[in-house]
Symmetry: none
Subunit: 192 residues, 4 copies
DNA sequence: AATGAATGAGATTTCATTCAT
DNA sequence: TATGAATGAAATCTCATTCAT
């Protein structure tokens, strides 16, 4: 069991080293050599855990996900304040800085495998959000003339648009401010 | 002047070859060797026209720009129908397919030089759009409690969010439909 | 003794796994990882039984040997029909397919250790065959003007030449047909 | 044209360096790094000329071929002395030492590409020799009851068998002596 | 201006082998 | 005796870029 623990630690060390380097340089210019050096393991060890650099990225992109969203469904009360709250809280603890966010996008755009993973993630997000929107429509909180699927899709456009432009911007503003302002307007468009 | 013409033609041939390859593969996996082969020139010639691969991308990303937006300012009449029209028309002739759009994003994310260029482009877009929004606010068409700069910023989030999610999606829907639907909601949020 | 048995079984399982893989791929491209996976043991276990990959091959190349040859010496009667019979029977049960034969040659050619082993094997074969030839010459069955050692050497040339060309050929003919035809001619050359 | 010359020289330098190293070590243990170092070119240069190590070997295995055989057909006179002469002369100038011969076999056995090339070479050899044998049969010099194709096949068995056993032997005897003795017996078997 | 051979640092990946458990 | 995580040297191959012609 000690062995299992060590294995897990090694895996974590590699992932943290990779993230730390992606946060300093771009994805493409980060080499496996650098990663293993920082992680303090041998080059071969990397490939005992990840079959390629792409594979590592697939493990990492879960960081984009908003897991808390799913839990919202079961809570009662008006939807929009709940969502505003969650967006605010999430952004507080968003684990990616600008450079790392860029690195993730870059990796996803450059690898068919990571792209597929991303598509699944988007699909999961949609599946989680649509029921929320539908319940909001049923209780009269949200406009009914726009299909729930469309509203969801647009919310994702808004989310990823804010994310990518923020990551490419050179100013130091916080992501959460952008996100809150943008979603404020988004909510204005969908309340009935 | 014949010589000037030939030079321009060579430059265009190289750019077209590059775009054509980016539209098939990712940016990173497209090599200069492939580009010059398709363009029918020698490898050295590439570097007579572009100082590096990055440099080529800087030339290419103008394709993201919505030049027509600037012209809107001088036309009279209500703003929103005008913008809807222009978005619709632009999308009709959007020159990039999904793969090529992804390749451009990838290139920009991986090159400091291209990223700088992108920032300038974003700044130019803002400078063009803010006055439009301000005039819309002055004539009472748009809400006044949201600063024009914020509205503009959010419009860009919406635009690039739609663009990047569309480019990563595997379905075959047209970009313009996404864009029109998304901006419809956006407009609903900003009208007074 | 149960333990001894298990050890022997493990050793056999590893050898069989290796042979099975050599019969599908080349020697060089077969990895110990693959072998132990197929044998159902851990990687470390391999090295408990064989000190290296080379060592395994040394164990395996005995398959080339024609052990029955030695027994011929003591039987009476004319030599050539006996040898024809034995070649025929051996070929029937030749344990190597083309790919595996190639793999063995490849392994021997690439390892000084295996090469040495092969030389011993060849020497043993010579030692077994020369007396046979000599007795054939004494009883007048074979020409006497060619030294027995030369005849033996040429027999080996014939044997290995047939073996290697067969293994490199892509047609599906049986080894034994080639071998019988070739040795027919060989015998024609040496009978008096 | 000076440039063409230089190119050819570079190609030759690489091939000679490779052969020289194969003649010292085995094929597998000769690295491209060693080859380019000895050839005095950069690593990338190797790949401008050969797409892989396999590719280089394909270029090299022509050394096995007996080009002069083809020319024999048109000369008149008895066949066997002519062939004896040619075998003798060829062996005198056989360009491969033992280690290099082993390296070539090893390379061919380990690469599907090189193996295919080898099969073509064998086929070409057959096509060249069969007519010779047929003409020998027609003029009554050779036995007619063995098909010319079989005789040819067996000649190749004899040739390659002698070659590979010689290359694996540690004694310093000359290849040509082996070859002459072996073919002497072979000829005894086929004369009428 | 055009060429394309040469460059060479550097990338990813492999794999036989070791050794602590 | 069996295990399998860790090793790390070494292998092949890539490719943007340079520069002599």
């Amino acid at each position: 069991m000690n062995r299992e623990l060590k294995k897990e630690q090694t895996r974590v060390r590699i992932k943290e080293a990779a993230m730390s380097l992606f946060a300093e340089q771009s994805y493409e210019s980060t080499t496996i050599e650098q990663i293993v050096k920082l992680a303090g393991v041998a080059k071969g060890t990397f490939f005992n855990y990840f079959s390629s650099k792409d594979d590592l990225i697939c493990d990492l992109q879960g960081l984009f996900v908003i897991e808390e969203i799913v839990k919202l469904k079961d809570k009662g009360g008006p939807l929009i304040p709940k969502m505003q709250l969650i967006i605010f809280e999430l952004m507080q603890q968003f684990p990616l800085n600008k450079q790392l966010t860029r690195a993730l996008f870059q990796a996803i755009l450059g690898s068919e495998k990571a792209l597929d993973k991303h598509r699944k993630l988007i699909a999961d997000l949609k599946d989680a959000i649509i029921p929320l929107v539908e319940s909001g429509q049923e209780c009269g909180e949200l406009r009914k003339e726009i299909p729930a699927a469309d509203i969801t899709q647009i919310a994702l456009h808004t989310y990823f648009g804010t994310l990518i432009l923020w990551s490419m911007d050179e100013d130091e503003e916080k992501l959460n401010e952008h996100m809150v302002v943008t979603f404020d307007l988004f909510f204005k468009g969908i309340v009935s």
